[in-house]
């Protein structure tokens, strides 16, 4: 069933990808432009239409106030904890943000929450997959950094729902990567996954045992990645421009964006070359030209690279392992292409890390593997099972502001804990509970997840009620809470105030709003797809004309085909989907006999063989036969 297809999505800080597992092989599904990566950039064009990916990128430079990138950094976070981000990234927050409200980002004259912006990216990926399959897709596995907290995970899930995707599982990125690598070797091994992406760093230690991928420890830093390298180099360049040329472009958004673009290109070049040139024109026409050598580059970024070492050591300690006990090391994330990072990992583990799979794609491929497992598995995945852990401890604020930990970090999920609470005052009917996530001793130093009010406790003398609260961390790392008063057996009522999340009602509204986009998108997409299909048929017809089968048709048949061909060509440029569709169907009908004749001839065998080859490499939707109607569900 087409609707049962589950796609795997890597929703990255810099780039996003969608993958699917077919014939025991996970593969990335390219976009219409043939590119596997969809840059995680969203822009609002002049007509207030949403643009995603490469088409959105040009707005970053031309009209930065209409574009946003790296929005993943804002997922599930409050205005007070992104002050650092605001200094480095040109995020423009809505002017009317109330305290405690979910962030909203300005895009032109509109505002969107981070989950909505992520949903635009997800919708693009969903569309790419639907184009590939020629059928709707509604289910997905999405990856998140292992170090994402509950609010960030919830925000990612919300983004999926807004985009019209049922998120069957959130998988930790390093774990997903290990799934992609582990397909070939199902024996026993201890592996480390070093994942340095655009915005986050994760390190995970796993034990492989006959297809079971058991995470033993994970650690990381949600604010460490390639972006930090870019920002460091940009700051240096901006100061250099000021000091050397006396020009201050630090607050010129357009200039900074164009410098960013150049810096990133130089950074990428330095992974394969020993020096790179920086050369760009400043707004007043002055040229800024510099050569940066790899040695200089490495000296500059060494402190950033070294920041990955503390999490690595902590994860090893938590796993109770020495570096020499790690048998395989896997590199994930675009920033692991940097030679300095590779050397660092090599020195740390005393072995050459794996990098056979494209580090930009491996997480998405792993997500596709997990999607396949959830869909019931296949020959390649039937023995595979992922046992992941929570990277952060969960605790309850105690009297005096301390934290009582109820679920410890590195516990395998799903995981639950039951706590008992009582009242302090006679006749008290409600108890307030504050849940926090993090490792610090004081509640205020940890991330506040939610405040609960246990209500409806029967009035009793102080200390007598026993409210049993059950905290369940599911396999997605998302918290569920239920409570009951043990003496009366009565279910207690829980009122949840997520500290930095959208309420269910808000998400529902966003889903409704997104339908407007979806319908508009869908109509446009249908026309484009129909045109593509028409082109396929016309090309096949061209082939048919030069085949011996063409001569076997009656002159009447040939004449009809010619007429219908012209009719299709006439309606193709228009926006009327039904007209194009009808013309395609008519031409299809008329060429049925030709197709049959071609199938019978020796020539068709060759054609068919060629088709199957191309289908194997997974280039676009494979039509059943060249002149047959493609299966597009409406």
């Amino acid at each position: 069933m087409a609707s049962d297809r589950i796609i795997g999505i890597d929703l990255g800080t810099t780039n996003s990808l969608v993958a699917y597992m077919e014939n025991d092989h996970p593969a990335v599904i390219p976009g219409e432009d043939g590119s596997n990566l969809v840059p995680s950039v969203v822009a609002l064009d002049e007509r207030d239409q949403i643009m995603v990916g490469n088409p959105a990128r040009k707005y970053l430079i031309e009209t930065p106030e209409r574009a946003v990138y790296s929005v993943k950094r804002l997922m599930g976070r409050g205005v007070e904890d992104i002050q650092g981000e605001l200094k480095l990234f040109p995020f423009r927050l809505a002017d009317d943000l109330a305290p405690g409200e979910v962030l909203r980002i300005k895009l032109g004259n509109k505002t969107y929450t981070p989950p909505e912006i992520s949903a635009f990216i997800l919708r693009q990926l969903k569309r790419n997959a639907e184009r590939y399959f020629g059928a709707p897709v509604t289910k997905a596995v999405i990856t998140v950094p292992a170090y994402f907290n509950d609010a960030q995970r919830q925000a990612t899930k919300d983004a999926g729902r807004i985009a019209g995707l049922e998120v069957l599982r959130l998988v930790n990125e390093p774990t997903a990567a290990s799934l992609a690598y582990g397909l070939d070797k199902k024996d026993t091994a201890t592996i480390a996954v070093y994942d340095l992406g655009g915005g986050t760093f994760d390190i995970s230690i796993l034990k492989l045992h006959e297809g079971i991928f058991e995470v033993i420890a994970t650690n990381g830093d949600t604010h460490l990645g390639g972006d930090d390298i870019d920002n460091l180099l940009i700051t240096i360049a901006l100061n250099d421009i000021l000091g050397d040329l006396g020009i201050d472009v630090r607050h010129n958004g357009e200039a900074v964006q164009s410098i960013r673009k150049d810096i990133i290109e130089a950074k990428i070049a330095l992974s394969s070359q020993t020096e790179a040139a920086l050369d760009f024109e400043l707004p007043d026409g002055t040229r800024y030209q510099r050569t940066i050598t790899r040695a200089q580059f490495e000296r500059l970024i060494k402190p950033i690279a070294d920041r990955t070492l503390a999490p690595v050591r902590q994860a090893m300690r938590d796993a109770g392992l020495e570096a020499k006990q790690i048998e395989e090391v896997v590199l994930v994330g675009g920033s692991t292409r940097i030679p300095l990072i590779r050397r660092l990992v090599e020195e740390q583990f005393q072995r050459i890390p794996h990098s056979e799979l494209n580090p930009d794609e491996v997480v998405a491929l792993g997500a596709a593997v997990q999607a396949n497992i959830l869909g019931g598995g296949s020959e390649a995945t039937k023995e595979m099972l992922l046992l992941d852990v929570t990277a952060l401890s969960l605790g309850i604020e105690s009297l005096g502001g301390g934290v009582v930990k109820i679920i410890h970090r590195n516990s395998t999920v799903p995981e639950s804990a039951t706590e008992h609470f009582t009242t302090g005052v006679e006749g008290q009917t409600s108890v307030a509970i504050h849940v926090v996530q993090g490792e610090r001793e004081l509640a205020k130093d940890n991330r506040s997840l939610a405040r609960f009010d246990l209500k409806g406790i029967p009035p009793m003398p102080a200390g007598l009620p026993r409210v049993e609260v059950k905290f369940l961390l599911d396999a997605n790392g998302i918290l569920h809470v239920s409570a009951r008063e043990a003496r009366s057996g009565k279910e207690a009522e829980i009122e949840v105030q997520p500290s930095y999340g959208l309420t269910d009602e808000q998400v529902e509204n966003m889903i409704l709003e997104s339908f407007d986009y979806a319908e508009e998108d869908f109509a446009k997409r249908q026309v484009i797809e129909a045109r593509n299909e028409a082109n396929t048929i016309l090309a096949a017809l061209e082939k048919g004309r030069s085949s011996p089968a063409w001569e076997q048709l009656s002159s009447r048949e040939r004449e009809d085909i010619g007429k219908l061909e012209n009719a299709l060509k006439a309606v193709m440029p228009g926006d009327d989907y039904h007209a194009i569709r009808t013309a395609i169907d008519a031409l299809n009908q008329a060429t049925m006999h030709l197709a049959e004749l071609m199938m019978d001839s020796a020539l068709s065998t060759a054609l068919k063989g060629k088709r199957m080859d191309t289908a194997d490499v997974g280039e676009g939707p494979a039509a059943p036969h060249p002149i047959a109607k493609a299966e597009i569900e409406q």
Partner: protein, 214 residues
């Protein structure tokens, strides 16, 4: 899939309530049960079964984590038999002490002299650090004490093992005869004593680290 039942962790793994346990076998059973119960395996089951799967897997994970670690396994057994254990995070411990909910732990007799000496050293080093002075000799002495305590800590696992054997023997005896409650109580008390001693030393080590690192 059957609905989850509220059973203790030993029963969950179909194990007797004994403390000597083959960790390889436990791991094997954990993997086998995971393959049956995990939500990923049951992703296509009906909603009710999916809920059970989630519930039972969380039970399985709790049980495995508790039983595989020798200390948490012992603590769990004590709790199963109604022995109250005091100890949470450092903050919780201090708070409990302040409010009087927890008595000051009794110094294990064989450590009396050492703890007395250690407290003097710690006090002295704290004073010196406050004055901004540096005393490498004193720091070295503390390091030595620390090492000595760590050795004691490691040796504790041996003590624990013999108390496990005592408990397990009682358990086996109970199959064929009635074991007096006093014997059972004595075995549990002995286990508790080892654990208390261990956590006492751990707190000392924590204190030394704090002073050395401050």
């Amino acid at each position: 899939m059957q609905p989850p039942a509220p059973v203790d962790y030993f029963t969950f793994f179909a194990l007797p309530q004994k403390l000597n346990l083959d960790s390889t076998l436990l791991e094997r059973d954990f993997y086998a049960l995971s393959r049956k119960l995990h939500p990923d395996i049951n992703a296509k089951a009906n909603r009710q079964e999916q809920e059970w799967s989630l519930e039972k897997t969380s039970q399985l994970n709790d049980a495995y984590r508790t039983l595989k670690d020798p200390i948490s396994r012992t603590e769990y057994l004590l709790r199963l038999h109604g022995v109250q254990l005091e100890e949470q995070s450092k903050a919780a411990t201090e708070e409990a002490r302040k409010s009087g909910a927890m008595k000051k732990p009794v110094v294990p007799p064989d450590l009396l002299e050492e703890v007395f000496e250690l407290n003097m050293q710690l006090e002295e080093l704290r004073m010196e650090k406050k004055m901004g002075e540096d005393d490498p000799d004193l720091a070295r002495e503390l390091h030595n004490t620390k090492q000595h305590l760590e050795e004691k800590q490691a040796a504790m696992l041996g003590d624990l093992k013999s108390e496990w054997d005592r408990w397990d023997a009682l358990f086996d005896r109970a199959v064929s005869e009635t074991v007096p409650d006093t014997d059972r109580k004595a075995a549990l008390d002995a286990l508790l004593a080892v654990l208390n001693r261990r956590s006492y030393i751990r707190n000392l080590l924590r204190e030394i680290d704090e002073v050395l690192e401050s």
